[in-house]
């Protein structure tokens, strides 16, 4: 490894042994005022994990309520609020910030060999905005709750009671946190790469983060404007969406999905980012089709802006619009398929180690494939008409969001946990946890495909008796899934009870974050890193052609 980088110590930045970004400087104040991307990433991490916990408990409550066809544990009003909050929390407070703002903040500058992101203060500002938005979301729960579903469809959302206005403001504010992270990443990737790191020496994580950031910056303002218009309609009675005031309710759906379909890619492209790191490292083999993976992320980001109407095939939009959106939807499927094939080809003739991050990566490929393939049913308009707004949709997007984005996030959490906290976790428990999550997830959600094809509509509090066996089976699966996640939380937290034991590079990664200490020192590297090999070059040093001579800066 030593030949990778120059190792010119900076005399001014000597650090004492045992000092790292976690313990230097000390005190809560130093954390709350930090501009260190690593600390901000860690604070984001605990915040999104708290949101994940809350959203997960709500999910378990939903499944318990659906154990029986009539009331089980809560009233219809409570149920409607619980599923709304589950969706809003998971999307806006957990998945969207999870990989970019938590893991990405921590890893991205390290991967680039940079000392920080381009705008460290903006980064801290983004975290505070996230917290303010979160407090407002919690406030809206306490001040009457919301029962609109996370999609806020008008005119229901303009006419129902509760704290919808506060929640829409919260979403408006949370959008800025997302935009700030995106702007920061774009500038960082353009300007702060280590010497020798051209665009095609970037780790694929960085490419995907770049694609994600572009979507965040371009799509999120549309959501902001949409929820602001909704707020104005509710508070000032300006007719925009509500037909009673002269507005158009379907316009809201266009606006909403113009953001929220790209938002699906804000959630899943970071998942691709993580998997593209884990697969080559645990196969000890260079990534297959680097450019295809890099460009497919960009292709998804671009074409993903043009498919929002596939959420609206039965909304009353024109047949021509439906046909165009259907066709573009099939186009955007290709780059995702290409990635899956590339990952498989990377494993071919590799040296595959089934450590916990790799188990999550394999789970991801399987679950995301199901999520993607079931998307074909929904892109085909005539079949979508039957499946739209049934449990088939619920199952499909959980396979993409949870089976894809969240499983990848968990894989990334396990992959970078030693780097973030300097501690190794119990591999055996890691494998058991992953297996429980994988099995529990499939029992819970595969069942829901069948509920959907048989006609069970989503967002139903009561349901016909004929659906009960499948609902009960799905609820049973949610307990396995919950047990797996609680086990995972337990063994990860248990690592804090023992001394730091993680080496610099526990998995044999070739990207720059593995060249510094675990956990990293405050300034990331005690030398100026210069790139001398690609991010996935696993060849022994002597067989690498044209090895540039490392030069000191």
């Amino acid at each position: 490894m030593a030949n990778v980088l120059t190792a010119a110590p900076r005399p001014v930045q000597h650090h004492a042994p045992g000092e790292n970004y976690l313990n230097t400087p000390k005190g809560i104040r130093s954390w709350l005022t930090t501009v260190d991307h690593k600390r901000i990433g860690i604070m984001y991490l605990w915040s999104v994990l708290a949101a994940f916990f809350l959203g997960g408990v709500l999910a378990l409550l939903i499944r318990i309520e659906l154990l029986t066809p009539k009331q089980t544990i809560m009233s219809a009003e409570a149920y409607n609020q619980v599923f709304t909050l589950h969706g809003a929390i998971m999307v806006f407070l957990f998945i969207i910030p999870s990989t970019p703002a938590a893991l990405g903040n921590f890893v991205l500058p390290l991967m680039l060999g940079a000392k920080d992101v381009a705008f460290p203060r903006l980064n801290l500002c983004s975290l505070y905005i996230y917290w303010v938005g979160t407090l407002m979301a919690i406030g809206s729960i306490l001040l009457g709750g919301i029962d609109t579903g996370w999609t806020f469809y008008t005119p229901y959302s303009t006419s129902t009671g509760g704290a919808v206005s506060l929640m829409t403001l919260s979403v408006f504010i949370l959008g800025f946190s997302s935009i700030f992270t995106g702007v920061n990443f774009i500038a960082t990737i353009h300007k702060l790469r280590a010497p020798g790191m051209g665009w095609f020496q970037l780790p694929l994580f960085v490419w995907s983060m770049y694609a994600t950031a572009v979507i965040q910056v371009m799509a999120t303002p549309v959501l902001g404007i949409t929820v602001l218009l909704l707020f104005m309609e509710r508070v000032l009675k300006i007719g925009i969406f509500d037909p009673a005031l002269g507005g158009d309710p379907v316009l809201f759906q266009h606006f909403f999905w113009f953001y929220s379909h790209p938002a699906v890619y804000i959630m899943i492209v970071p998942g691709f980012a993580i998997i593209s790191e884990i697969i080559p490292v645990f196969s000890k083999k260079t990534i297959f089709g680097y450019k295809a993976i890099a460009f497919s992320s960009v292709a998804i980001a671009v074409v993903g802006f043009l498919v929002w109407g596939h959420h609206m095939f039965v909304s009353g939009q024109s047949e021509l619009a439906g046909a165009i959106f259907s066709f573009l939807t099939f186009l955007v499927a290709i780059p995702s398929a290409v990635k899956v094939f590339n990952w498989l080809a990377t494993m071919y003739r590799g040296s595959i180690s089934l450590k916990t991050p790799m188990l999550y990566a394999i789970s991801f490929i399987l679950l995301f494939s199901i999520g993607g393939l079931t998307g074909i049913y929904l892109g085909a308009i005539s079949v979508d008409v039957h499946l739209h707004d049934t449990y088939f949709i619920v199952a499909h997007f959980h396979y993409v969001m949870m089976g894809g984005a969240v499983i990848a996030f968990l894989g990334g959490l396990h992959y970078w946990w030693p780097k973030m906290f300097g501690r190794m976790y119990n591999e055996k428990l890691g494998a058991i946890g992953c297996a429980l999550v994988f099995i529990g997830f499939n029992v819970t959600f595969f069942t829901q495909f069948l509920l959907g094809t048989r006609g069970m509509p989503r967002r139903y509090y009561n349901y016909l008796d004929q659906f009960q066996p499948l609902h009960a089976f799905s609820t049973f699966g949610s307990w396995i899934l919950g047990a797996g996640l609680f086990l995972t939380a337990a063994y990860l937290l248990a690592t804090f009870r023992k001394p730091m034991d993680a080496p610099r590079n526990p998995w044999g990664g070739r990207t720059l974050e593995w060249e510094t200490e675990s956990p990293p020192i405050v300034h990331n590297f005690d030398f100026d890193p210069i790139l001398t090999h690609g991010p996935y070059d696993f060849r022994p040093a002597r067989t690498r052609p044209n090895e540039p001579v490392a030069h000191r800066s």
Partner: protein, 313 residues
């Protein structure tokens, strides 16, 4: 395989269903092929190429253009076939035959109302003839609803102040379930309706005479059925618990206080007025949200509801 298809999807009961199901099973075959391929390759690679030692050396394969073109173009071609198939089916489902019987559908929280060309109206239940196209012209009085008949494979949103259309030709007699599939609040999951598919003679008879049972059934029993089918149950409980509206349990003969400060005793006149002009007297603690049932219930159904409420203790 037939039993499996029937287990996965409701019985095909409209002329549109077979084509949609064929595409469904075609996509399932394609998906199953690719999923099995992916899962097998992962399993084979994970076993065959498992790490034997930390110093394993792997080949440096960066790309393979031919292979990459193949695995981009082949899925694309399959998807284009699926696109045209789906689009074709969708166009057939979008254009109603010219000779279709037209039925107006009005949705409101949380009932479905159907109106026939001769002005007859029904609530949450309606009859259509077998093997004849029926066109539904739909409209909502409040928020967005959606009209979904799983066994016909049809669905369309029902919008306020805009008409949407749906058509079908039923091929199976019997009763078919209708769901509301656009979330519309507390009663969303109880906003159900039923389509009765009759042969031509039975349909013509029903058009003229209505339901036979409505004339002969004892009043309290008719009231109970009306309570369940006309949407009363969505808001009014029988066990004393309050929902969107007050419970019916034991109210007959009680004195009720209204939001305008007046009060009255619950008698036959009060119940009839509450059904026909629900906002004239709203009980304290409740909102003015109940729709009128004027013209939607036959007189004997109203009498039935009154007798039914009398019995509830």
């Amino acid at each position: 395989m037939n039993w499996f298809a029937k287990w996965v999807m409701p019985a095909q009961s409209s002329t549109l269903a077979p084509d949609i199901d064929n595409l469904f099973w075609f996509i399932t075959a394609v998906s199953a092929f690719f999923f099995v391929l992916i899962a097998s390759l992962i399993t084979i690679f994970a076993i065959r190429y498992r790490r034997r030692s930390a110093s394993d050396v792997t080949p440096h394969i960066t790309h393979n253009q031919k292979l990459e073109i193949v695995w981009s173009v082949v899925p694309l071609l399959i998807l284009i076939v699926i696109f045209f198939w789906g689009f074709n089916g969708y166009m057939r489902a979008s254009i109603a035959p010219a000779n279709a019987i037209e039925i107006q559908v009005r949705a409101k929280k949380w009932v479905w109302e159907f109106e026939y060309p001769d002005g007859m109206r029904t609530l949450n239940e309606f009859h259509v003839p077998l093997n004849r196209p029926v066109r539904l012209v739909m409209n909502s009085e409040d928020v967005i609803h959606s009209f979904f008949v799983p066994s016909f494979r049809i669905k369309m949103d029902v919008l306020p102040r805009r008409y949407t259309e749906l058509w079908f030709e039923a091929t199976q007699p019997g009763v078919h379930q209708v769901f509301c599939t656009e979330y519309c609040g507390k009663g969303h999951s109880d906003m159900l309706a039923r389509i009765h598919v009759d042969d031509d003679a039975a349909y013509q008879k029903w058009l003229v005479e209505g339901d036979e049972s409505m004339k002969t059934m004892p009043l309290p029993e008719l009231g109970k059925i009306t309570y369940e089918n006309a949407g009363c149950a969505t808001c009014h409980s029988l066990d004393g618990s309050s929902g969107q509206g007050p419970s019916w349990n034991g109210i007959f003969g009680q004195t009720r206080n209204f939001i305008d400060g007046t009060s009255a005793r619950v008698d036959e006149n009060y119940i009839r007025q509450s059904i026909m002009e629900p906002n004239a007297k709203v009980v304290k603690g409740y909102e003015q949200i109940m729709p009128t049932f004027q013209g939607l219930l036959r007189d004997r159904q109203v009498l039935g509801v009154i007798e039914y409420i009398k019995q509830l203790k």
